[in-house]
């Protein structure tokens, strides 16, 4: 064992934070204590997270991109040749991010926090080594910079990689920040994980209404993406492809692939099964109808249907060959025009269709998680980079050609001189894509918007939740329930609770706690391994025996057959468990298809499980002991073959026990810890297994809005808007997940003593009654920090924006508007800024557009930044810096301290939100024997319909914890037992149920009911009255319609809408309606000519040239506008005026 436990230097990430969990004495359990495998196997979870971390999927994917994928990309686009000079070539030899060839250490790059503050991009240079010709000489040049690559924080190219807590503090970074995002132009951007159907796999679907069965495969290669279908039409089977104009009978396709004999076709598609043969037979007639019997005829037939446009015309035969070789099932390459592999593939697709025609149950499930692949930041970056690199190369080539074309050059041309011209394209292309989220790839004609999102820093949990989020490619507007439903195969892979409500419900998912997303692995060695393990190569298989045995598929491609599938699979697994091949390669048997599938591709979700053999868990007490002692790491468990990763497909081929007591002889695996079915966000809920499930989902949405501590560097950050809680507390009732994700170090809420009773009537509809003294003492206090950015621009005529000083009155004191300013014209730190006061006294030159020659630069126009808000703020920070483009950048951070007020929103951790309905004096609050008053009174009507029993248990556990001096656990499927908690209550002289006898604070008498009374963790949510309150009597109006503006931000009016209007009409209050809709809105005096019915002005009708019949009247300005607009399009609306009450 010693040789395994030698070097763990690669496990350094986040070491400190897990130390407490890995300590020999933890949770009252010492080294000498007996190890109970059933209870203590959960320690594998912190060990897993220590190695993997919560955002490991993003980091792994980015690391794979910069270390492996980049090299593949330059290899695929290696050489640049000139059309002009055949002698010329330029070859890329190597590519590196962030460090030069001669130094092993990374270049010094601007640290991430500085990038945030200075609105810069956190990136590192991309260096390439090139070999090229200059005249006759071949020159090697190293370390040519071709652009800058945005760096994912905490990836192996990031300067934070492997830093300890002290180093992180020095860099102004929070050690608990998970990383996995980019900083582009100062904003933190996350590339969300994208969910899609797996590529290069056959999916069989059936449409019962249209009687269609189709097998489709999306082929994806570096060059192109295309989709091939094998589809039924009137029970006949055809091949369909986008670049073939019509459906081709399947027999013709097979013939074109070189399977000329009808017998062989039947053997390949149907095998010996007579039902299949009967179903398929009709297709031969279809081919015979076209009189196609030879391969040449078939190829020509297909060639004639191809609709690609080429520069030089090919013959029909060549088109046919081209189509079969490259367009149909493009991910298979046909070497030397050997179509045998393709023929088998098409035949197998056809077979799947025939099977589904025979038995409708043989279709695949699109929503099955095993048929999904997750696309991560690295893959998306790689697609983008390859596109930009190709563009870069073609631009580079064009400029080389341009120079080489010139005859009689004086000096020999050095191609390297023009390489830097285009380097900005890569940099800005990457930056633009990440900052806008628009991924547009010319190669695939892909245009995807909304790939990136701004990292939500509302709370630590919201940031964390964003890193584990998975967005689906599925359209949100479609009302199909299938993709939104909870799939049984999500178990343990995707969180069962964490999904938004509303339109994205079920489409946006979150990773569960213990998942890993694979990255691509080499196929070739696995293929060779399969042959070594006795797989019969497909080129050697007799067509007649193809379906007699199990087929072996590698990443969906048929590679051979095996006569002993069970033996093969177990040997393969043995190799994986012994670490001979990557632990992420999955193998499983599909009994229905008689197939063994091996997957090495990236994007599969998998999770670790304990291996069980012969009815015994492989993880024994001694292993767990060594884990606790730090002698073993999680990776050692993998290497020792005690634990292995299973993806969804292989999981389906296993028999997994949830608890150790369930293990029997058939069991193959054991769950590490059941609460890992939940993700990081749902893991905050105490006793979630006692709640009604939608309540847990609501809490997942609300936990992200809770105000709390955000990061250790929260006071150093200058964000657009930040909410912080002044006195956050860790919850009395924790969960193991809370400890694992460090929520106890950056909490978002407070333990409030809650009395569940009705009080005052201001608590209906979930409103809360809050104790004023609790608020006085700091309950629910929070702070908002708002940023204002100001750039001092430079103009072409050498003028620039300036910051003016302050203006003073006759006494030499600054005028009121300038009171917060210092002598430099910027607000001074600590000053109070009230509405109407200036905190950046900026001036812009009034002649910025003038030419350079007119030297009147002293003219300035004041454009101060004025504070406008109902409540005053304080200036927290003023930052002056220089941004990327050399312009002075000023950021001012305004801070506001808020105590809870009427209407502020609070929520417990059980999806029970409520607003503060009334704030009551402490002496009016009920109190118990000990004199304890609640902080919050909650109405008991919140319980019956919501069925949040977890909240009640949280209260009892919390109360027991406070009396006992312990933090209790409410971990899902576990946690402190209610009986134990009740026991503690009784031992401390309280009632077992958590209900106390209270005295009314108002009358002093005992309350007639016992009150459920104890601590519950409450979160303050970001929705506060101060940000929403709005009223208007008079105010601004829109220019065009002269109606009041809309919205709080524009001091807008409150709209009396159509439905309200209907009410007023129904009531018959016409004068009220007139007042609301016209007089108080956009009343306008017009002069209407009663003769022509058109509008004039000044008592004069311009149409009739008279003032005789002009009448003054009031109409809405919008109506007047309508009439004039109609006039402008040659419609003359004429007003006919008459008395309503004729005499």
């Amino acid at each position: 064992m010693t040789d395994i436990v030698t070097d763990h230097s690669h496990h350094h990430i986040k070491d400190e934070s897990f130390d407490a969990l890995m300590k020999p004495v933890y949770k009252g359990k010492g080294l000498t204590d007996e190890i109970n495998t059933a209870e203590d196997k959960w320690n594998l979870l912190p060990a897993f997270l220590k190695v993997k971390g919560l955002v490991k999927q993003h980091l792994d994917s980015f690391n794979y991109f910069v270390d492996v994928d980049l090299k593949k990309i330059i290899n695929a686009n290696k050489v640049i040749l000139s059309d002009v000079d055949p002698e010329f070539y330029l070859k890329y030899v190597d590519i590196r991010i962030g460090h030069r060839s001669n130094s092993s250490s990374q270049d010094k790059i601007v640290p991430p926090h500085q990038c945030r503050l200075r609105d810069m991009t956190y990136s590192a240079p991309i260096y390439v080594d090139v070999e090229y010709t200059r005249g006759r000489k071949i020159i090697m040049h190293k370390d040519v910079e071709i652009g800058k690559m945005p760096i994912m924080l905490r990836s192996n190219k990031c300067i934070l990689n492997g830093q300890n807590e002290t180093d992180m503090a020095r860099l102004n970074e929070c050690p608990l920040d998970p990383g996995g995002y980019f900083i582009v132009n100062g904003t933190e951007k996350v590339i969300l994980v994208q969910e899609q159907l797996s590529k290069n796999r056959i999916i069989v679907e059936a449409d019962d209404k249209k009687h269609i069965v189709q097998a489709s495969v999306t082929s994806s290669t570096h060059e192109r993406k295309s989709k091939t279908y094998v589809v039924t039409k009137h029970d006949k089977i055809y091949l369909k492809h986008n670049s073939i104009s019509e459906e081709v009978p399947i027999v013709i396709v097979l013939k074109a692939c070189g399977i000329i004999s009808d017998l062989e076709i039947v053997q390949l598609v149907c095998g010996n099964d007579s039902t299949y043969q009967e179903l398929f037979a009709v297709n031969f007639e279809e081919a015979a109808k076209y009189r196609i019997y030879t391969q040449r005829q078939a190829l020509e037939f297909i060639g004639s249907k191809v609709k690609t446009i080429r520069r030089q015309k090919l013959t029909v035969l060549q088109e046919g060959i081209e189509a079969i070789a490259t367009t149909v099932i493009a991910h298979l390459t046909a070497e030397n025009l050997d179509f045998r592999e393709k023929a088998l593939y098409v035949a197998l697709m056809t077979r799947r269709v025939v099977m589904a025609m025979n038995d409708p149950k043989m279709v695949d499930d699109r929503d099955y998680v095993g048929n999904k692949r997750l696309e991560l930041a690295g893959q998306l970056m790689s697609l983008l980079f390859e596109d930009l690199f190709k563009k870069f190369n073609s631009d580079f080539k064009a400029s080389i050609d341009k120079v080489l074309k010139k005859p009689n050059r004086a000096t020999e041309y050095d191609a390297l001189l023009s390489i830097n011209i285009h380097s900005n394209n890569i940099t800005s292309g990457l930056n633009r894509a990440i900052s806008t989220g628009n991924w547009s790839l010319k190669r695939f004609k892909m245009e995807r918007a909304g790939v990136t999102h701004v990292l939500s820093r509302l709370s630590y949990i919201s940031a964390l939740g964003m890193m584990t989020r998975i967005s689906s490619q599925f359209e949100k507007s479609r009302k199909v329930s299938g993709p939104r439903a909870l799939q049984p195969s999500q178990f343990g892979m995707l969180c069962t609770s964490d999904t938004p409500e509303g339109e994205a419900c079920g489409l946006v998912k979150n990773l569960a706690l213990m998942t890993h997303i694979t990255s691509d692995d080499e196929e070739e060695p696995i293929k060779r391994l399969c042959y070594l393990l006795g797989i019969e190569d497909l080129s050697l298989i007799d067509s007649s025996s193809l379906h007699l045995h199990y087929g072996v598929y590698l990443n969906g491609t048929f590679i051979g057959i095996t006569r002993f599938p069970i033996k093969f699979v177990s040997q393969f697994r043995k190799l994986r468990r012994s670490g001979k091949i990557s632990e992420f390669i999955s193998i499983y048997t599909n009994q229905h298809q008689n197939a063994v599938h091996i997957a090495t591709d990236g994007g599969r979700i998998c999770r670790p499980l304990i291996i069980v053999t012969n009815g015994e868990s492989k993880v024994k007490a001694e292993h767990l002991l060594q884990l606790k002692n730090g002698q073993l790491q999680f990776d050692d468990f993998l290497k020792l073959g005690l634990v292995e990763y299973l993806d969804v497909n292989e999981e389906n081929d296993s028999f997994i026990a949830l608890y150790e007591k369930d293990i029997s002889n058939e069991i193959t695996h054991l769950e590490i810890e059941p609460f890992t079915v939940l993700g990081a966000v749902a893991g905050l809920i105490p006793y979630p297994h006692h709640n009604q499930s939608p309540r847990n989902t609501y809490q997942c949405a609300m936990g992200k809005q809770a105000i709390g501590a955000i990061a250790y560097n929260q006071f150093k950050r200058i964000d657009t808007l930040l909410y912080l809680m002044i006195y956050p507390q860790q919850p009395m009732v924790k969960t193991k997940t809370i400890e694992l994700i460090d929520y106890d170090k950056l909490p978002a809420g407070q333990n409030a003593t809650v009395a569940v009773m009705s009080y005052s009537g201001y608590d209906i509809e979930d409103a809360l009654v809050i104790n004023k003294s609790s608020i006085d003492r700091g309950f629910g206090r929070c702070e908002t920090r708002r940023k204002t950015t100001c750039v001092l621009k430079r103009y072409p005529n050498h003028t620039q924006d300036i910051i003016g000083g302050m203006r003073v009155d006759e006494n030499g004191k600054p005028i009121w508007q300038h009171a917060p300013l210092g002598p430099d014209g910027l607000g001074e730190v600590g000053m109070k800024v009230e509405s109407g006061q200036v905190y950046i006294n900026k001036s812009v030159p009034s002649n910025a557009s003038d030419s350079v020659l007119s030297q009147q630069s002293s003219q300035y126009r004041e454009t101060p930044v004025v504070y406008r808000a109902p409540e005053a703020s304080h200036i927290d920070q003023v930052m002056m810096s220089v941004s990327d483009n050399d312009q002075a950048l000023i950021k001012v951070l305004l801070r506001q301290n808020r105590r809870p007020e009427l209407g502020d929103k609070f929520s417990s951790r059980h999806g029970q939100k409520g607003v503060c309905g009334i704030i009551v004096q402490q002496e009016d609050f009920p109190f118990n024997d000990q004199g304890v008053c609640p902080d919050i009174i909650m109405n008991p009507h919140g319980f019956p319909s919501r069925m949040t029993v977890g909240k009640m248990i949280e209260l009892v556990s919390g109360k027991a914890g406070t009396l006992n001096g312990t933090l209790e656990y409410g971990t899902c499927f576990g946690g402190s037992k209610l009986e134990d908690m009740s026991k503690i209550l009784v031992d401390h002289g309280y009632n077992y149920s958590g209900k106390d006898m209270l005295y009314s604070g108002v009358t002093g008498e005992c309350l007639q009911a016992y009150i459920f009374f104890g601590p519950i963790y409450y979160q303050k949510l970001k929705h506060m009255v101060l940000d929403k309150m709005h009223a208007r009597a008079r105010g601004p109006r829109a220019v065009l319609t002269r109606q009041p503006t809309e919205g709080r931000s524009r001091d807008g009016g409150l709209r009396l809408g159509e439905m309200e209007r209907d009410c007023v009409i129904a009531y018959g209050a016409s004068q009220l309606l007139l007042e609301r809709l016209m007089i108080s809105s956009d009343a306008f005096q017009v002069d209407v000519c009663n003769a022509c019915g058109l509008m004039g002005y000044g008592g004069w009708c311009t149409t009739c040239k008279s003032s005789e019949n002009v009448i003054k009247m009031t109409i809405p300005y919008a109506a007047k506008l309508l009439f004039q607009e109609l006039l402008s399009m040659n419609i003359a609306p004429r007003l006919k005026l008459d008395d309503v009450f004729s005499k």
């Binding site: 109190f927 009784v986 309280y990 002093g1004």
Partner: protein, 342 residues
């Protein structure tokens, strides 16, 4: 066990899932039953009983017996919210480079209880502008000037910030009294200090500095909790346990376990008896047990208040209680003389 009907009426019944007979009727002019229950000053004077069981600098525990709930509750309410006390009201910052924001630090200083006799100060007039409001008659000025520096004598491998730096923790005791006018004379014998010197206000690191002045004024708890002279003052009703049928043997031991220790005694015959019902916390545990059903009756004496007054330290608890009595008396006088009352 008591057959006296009148006595039973004075017990609040603690049942398994509810409390009954909670209302108190002992107030002037009330006479519900045939026999005389009406309130009589002489009777009240004779029956009122005050037992003090604990009295020290910070805490008082006393029984108020034979008094109506409304009066007892009035004392409790007044002590919490209407007995005047001195606390920091305005904080003027000269410099604050600590991690705590000005508002937060000011809030923390505001909550520090101060040992100032409220009788020595006059009330502040809120209607005056801020620069005229405070004078030496109504305001106590405290200063806080702390700078954190490195400790040159700290051992090299030390990581404890308390040793590495000077003034790394700012405590309430760092608030220093700055006498204005004749305050030095007035407060000569009673130095003005925070009641608890070791309340942590803020933590500092080298280079950080706090310099501020605090104006402390008189206020009442209903305005802000910082002006409340008590941490809390509350009462509980005297527990009352009645054993209806004798409980013997093993059953008695189990019965004893349902109560905190000392409540139930077992005599030499093995029979359970009520030893000291005052020690009971009324957890109602006994009511859960089927075997004790109809054996025991729980209750609380309605006019026996066990008061508990926890002072913050500015005044002694008895002073606070007496002040509450005086305030209640003043209120009654006010009502008596109120024009509406006549």
């Amino acid at each position: 066990m008591s057959s006296d009907n009148n006595n039973n009426n004075n017990i609040v019944n603690i049942e398994y899932n509810r409390v009954t007979n909670v209302t108190s009727t002992d107030f002037p002019g009330f006479s519900a039953n045939s026999y005389d229950q009406s309130w009589d000053l002489q009777k009240f004077r004779d029956s009122l009983k005050v037992d003090i069981s604990k009295l020290d600098e910070r805490e008082a525990n006393f029984d108020l017996i034979h008094i109506d709930t409304s009066i007892a509750n009035a004392f409790r309410r007044i002590m919490i919210s209407e007995v005047p006390c001195v606390a920091a009201e305005a904080v003027y910052f000269y410099n604050n480079t600590s991690v705590l924001q000005d508002e937060v630090l000011a809030h923390r200083i505001g909550l520090v209880p101060l040992k100032i006799d409220p009788d020595e100060l006059q009330w502040c007039d809120d209607s005056l502008p801020e620069n005229e409001r405070y004078n030496d008659k109504n305001t106590i000025v405290l200063t806080l000037d702390v700078q954190c520096t490195r400790n040159p004598n700290a051992p090299k491998d030390c990581t404890d910030p308390n040793i590495l730096y000077n003034n790394s923790n700012v405590y309430a005791k760092d608030l220093k009294f700055q006498p204005e006018g004749d305050q030095e004379e007035v407060f000569k014998n009673r130095p003005i200090v925070p009641c608890d010197p070791d309340i942590l206000l803020c933590k500092l690191r080298p280079g950080q500095e706090i310099s501020l002045r605090v104006h402390c004024i008189l206020g009442i708890g209903s305005d802000h909790a910082k002006f409340s002279p008590v941490s809390t003052s509350s009462y509980r009703l005297m527990p009352h346990i009645t054993i209806l049928q004798p409980i013997k043997g093993e059953s008695a031991k189990r019965f004893q376990k349902c109560f905190p220790s000392g409540v139930i005694g077992i005599d030499n015959k093995g029979c359970a008896f009520v030893q000291d019902s005052r020690k009971d916390t009324v957890s109602r545990e006994v009511l859960r047990h089927q075997e004790f059903q109809d054996h025991v009756k729980l209750g609380r004496v309605r006019d026996h208040f066990i008061f508990n007054v926890e002072s913050t330290g500015a005044m002694t608890p008895e002073e606070i209680f007496f002040k509450s009595v005086r305030i209640l008396k003043n209120k009654a006088d006010y009502l008596k003389n109120c024009p509406i009352a006549q």
